[in-house]
């Protein structure tokens, strides 16, 4: 059983959580571009194209049967070994700031 370390609640069974996919991808900036369609490719790849690595993978999980917060988990997809976890908000803020 995959055990996920929730930054708030501690280590829990994975099925207390909801999966949210690849967290390495950065959403294209919010805001209408000057030319409609200019950001289509970026959005398309955000939604439809994946690295899908065999190895370390950062991914979103939400602790739905718990604190309900989202977190970013780094996990090795070749072994399911859990490597690290961050609160999603902190992860996002750190990404915005250089």
């Amino acid at each position: 059983m995959l055990r996920i370390p929730c930054p708030w609640c501690g280590e829990r069974d994975y099925n207390e959580f909801r999966y949210g996919g690849d967290a390495d991808k950065v959403r294209p900036p919010f805001g209408k571009p000057a030319v409609e369609g200019a950001d289509l490719k970026a959005w398309h790849d955000q939604v439809f194209v994946f690295d899908n690595p065999k190895g370390p993978h950062k991914e979103y999980w939400q602790h739905v049967q718990g604190c309900r917060h989202w977190l970013v988990l780094e996990r090795n997809t070749a072994t399911n070994q859990v490597l690290q976890a961050w609160p999603a908000r902190e992860f996002a803020l750190a990404r915005v700031k250089p």
Partner: protein
């Protein structure tokens, strides 16, 4: 080739004569017209149809492990053509038609058992959804029947019809021509036929890179050396992203584990394929007697071929909800396979942005039933460079065009498909 038939069986029994190799295991040659990466159902079927339909036999199928080690050898063997989206309906019906002649085509008994699939509905809205599908099937010349609760109960009386059931059975869609086939035989039968035609099946040989001439792909690097090819076709299912990455490509694919289960062997109990409607769950009984069943993917990216225990329990709960008698039966074994999940649940059989490199992948739950059609259409693409009309929809750029093929309307998440 030694034909397989009852007479040959008898004569071998009487004379004690040895059977020949089902397929040869040659050393790889330096170059081929076509190299297929992946000795699963689709790779091997493609090889067979390249020889049979196009007369191309200077072909190698490169398999990193033993043939059939991937999903073709670990799936729940459901074969059906109940699809409603244009592009899917015709493709999967083409496949089912090929299935119907496959044992003869291959001279290998793949045990296609057209025992009928019953897809249950647990409410009026679900039944409308099934009706749309059934009507579409009928309008495309495919058999489908809508059943009410009473008719379902006659077919599968041992299912959960008690008032205690959490989601009562309301009706069903039945496709009588649907059923199961013997998974390993499909891989072996295609391999035997392709090998007989002169195609090289090279096991224990992993593709580790692509040989490039500028953008163009002119061969593969393998653990058994470099092999050149005029055209290279990928057919590695759950490892699509891994192999594509060797060519610098990113795909609309994520790899997820789907678990499968088999019970101890018992005398015939379940005579159909049954799909539960309250949650994703499906079951049939193998000819050996085991109940073979499965549910939804575990739901997060992984390449480990083993599943999570809570999912095992979820699937058992569905089984008991569907067939209360199954509680006392025993689970014999459970395993997993790595599925190539796409955001719209549909596959790719297409050219890639790199000249001479082609892709077959993104099969999600449905690649086994697709095997013959995937083989014929991919063979045509690899032989001619032209899309087969039946697979024309399965292009990499369809999502960019807004032409996704979300058969079940599950949204753009690989783990929900």
């Amino acid at each position: 080739m030694t034909r397989y038939n009852a007479f040959a069986l008898l004569s071998h029994a009487l004379t004690g004569k040895k059977w020949p190799l089902a397929w040869r295991s040659p050393a790889p040659k330096a170059s081929y017209d076509i190299v297929i990466v992946g000795g699963g159902g689709h790779g091997l079927a493609t090889a067979h149809y390249l020889a049979k339909n196009h007369g191309i036999t200077n072909v190698a199928v490169i398999e990193k492990s033993y043939i059939g080690s991937g999903n073709v050898g670990r799936n729940t063997t459901l074969v059906r053509s109940n699809y409603q989206m244009p592009g899917n309906t015709e493709f999967f019906e083409h496949s089912l038609k090929l299935w119907e002649g496959l044992s003869h085509d291959l001279n290998y008994n793949v045990m296609l058992s057209q025992r009928g699939q019953i897809v249950l509905a647990h409410g009026p809205v679900q039944l409308d959804v099934l009706a749309r599908k059934g009507n579409t099937m009928r309008l495309n010349g495919i058999d489908a029947e809508l059943l009410d609760r009473g008719q379902v109960q006659k077919l599968i009386p041992y299912c959960g019809f008690s008032p205690e059931s959490r989601w009562p059975i309301y009706g069903a869609l039945l496709q009588r021509r649907a059923g199961t086939a013997r998974h390993d035989a499909v891989a072996w039968g295609y391999a035997r036929s392709a090998s007989e035609a002169g195609i090289d099946i090279i096991e224990n040989c992993e593709v580790t890179g692509f040989v490039r001439d500028g953008d163009a792909v002119i061969g593969v690097e393998t653990t058994r050396g470099r092999i050149l090819a005029a055209r290279t076709g990928i057919a590695v299912a759950g490892h699509s992203s891994q192999v594509a990455a060797l060519a610098g490509l990113k795909l609309p694919v994520e790899s997820h584990i789907l678990q499968a289960f088999v019970s101890e062997p018992i005398k015939p109990l379940v005579d159909h394929v049954i799909s539960f409607g309250a949650e994703l769950f499906y079951i049939s009984q193998s000819d050996k007697g085991g109940l073979v069943f499965g549910g939804h993917i575990d739901g997060f990216n992984t390449y480990t071929q083993r599943g999570q225990l809570p999912k095992v329990q979820t699937v058992m709960e569905c089984l008991v909800a569907l067939i209360p008698a199954a509680a006392r039966l025993r689970l014999l074994r459970h395993w997993g396979g790595i599925q190539d999940m796409t955001p719209d649940g549909s596959p790719f059989i297409c050219a890639t942005p790199l000249p001479n490199l082609y892709l077959n992948g993104g099969w999600c739950y449905q690649g086994f039933k697709a095997t013959p059609a995937s083989g014929t259409t991919y063979a045509r693409l690899l032989a001619t460079g032209q899309d087969h009309p039946l697979a024309a929809h399965f292009q990499l750029d369809r999502t960019m065009r807004g032409d996704g093929l979300d058969e079940y309307g599950l949204g753009n998440w690989t783990w929900k498909q």
